[in-house]
Amino acid sequence: MSNAVTPLGGAKTNIGGLTLEDMGLQGMISLRGDLSSKALAKAVKAVTGQGVPELRTANVMGGKGAAWMSPDELLLFVPYAEADAAVATISETMKAEHHLAVNVSDARGFMRLSGAGAHEVMSKNAPVDFHKDVFTAGMFRRSRLGQVAAAFWLDAEGGFNVVCFRSVADYVYRLLEVSAEAGAVDAL
């Protein structure tokens, strides 16, 4: 898999105190099933080392973890090279119950925006309250950025991790870049 590339090709930009960067190849698995099931929790634990995330939260650390996508869907984060094996593990663990685990690592763009003012850059593009007291670390939200669907969470280091579809990754990257270049609003 040495010839695998991300849609952003490792892009990184520093704008003022902000950093926008391609997060590189990241294993991602879409897991649908009964989020309250023990087998599912076991499978999630087995491949991510984390528990099943609460409503609208993400517990991703060091490229491993899970995010709450919908009442019957999680997005699991595993190392890129391990995604297929992780799908196999999940399928084995959950074979007795109805579920769907599918490798979507290549279907996504994955980037991170960090630094002072990142909240405001996000606020220019999503109909979401990013006030620091409201959108706090660990919160996960699916919405839109500009005109495309995106999911994002705030990590403990204050960076926004943004997941979008691969085909529009450069649109999202450029949108955040332009919004960062436009400067601070000084309102959040």
């Binding site: 609208r56 996508m69 919908s70 009442p71 869907e73 939200r141 699916r142 919405s143 839109r144 669907a149």
Partner: protein, 109 residues
């Protein structure tokens, strides 16, 4: 521009996150049904000025369809509830009755 609370993920979603899906609580009529029933299913809608039950999908959010009881004139939202409902929950009916005594919509009142 409306804001509706998605009953699945709890987000107060503004309309740009949502996709409208027309009238709720339609009963599907398939092969074997008579022409009147089928016409009703495909084409006939309540379309009242007043209470309306409608389908929305949290398209840019959790992707789930849900139903909303909304006043088409004042835009008051009496509640949202899961799409897996064959009729509006009683507390929503009560909320409507408080504002619109004697309301009637399809088979509901």
């Amino acid at each position: 521009m409306l804001t509706l609370q998605c009953p699945y993920c709890g987000v107060d979603a503004e309309e740009t996150e949502l996709q409208g899906g027309g009238e709720a609580h339609l009963k599907r009529f398939g092969p074997g049904s008579n022409d009147d029933d089928f016409e009703g299913y495909l084409f006939l809608r309540e379309n009242q000025k007043g209470i309306h039950f409608e389908r929305w999908r949290h398209a840019y959010g959790c992707g789930k369809w849900f139903l909303a009881a909304r006043h088409t004139n004042t835009l008051e939202v009496f509640g949202t509830y899961p799409a897996q409902s064959t009729e509006p929950p009683q507390h929503i009916k009560d909320a409507i009755s408080a504002k619109l005594p004697g309301w009637k919509w399809g088979n509901f009142s």
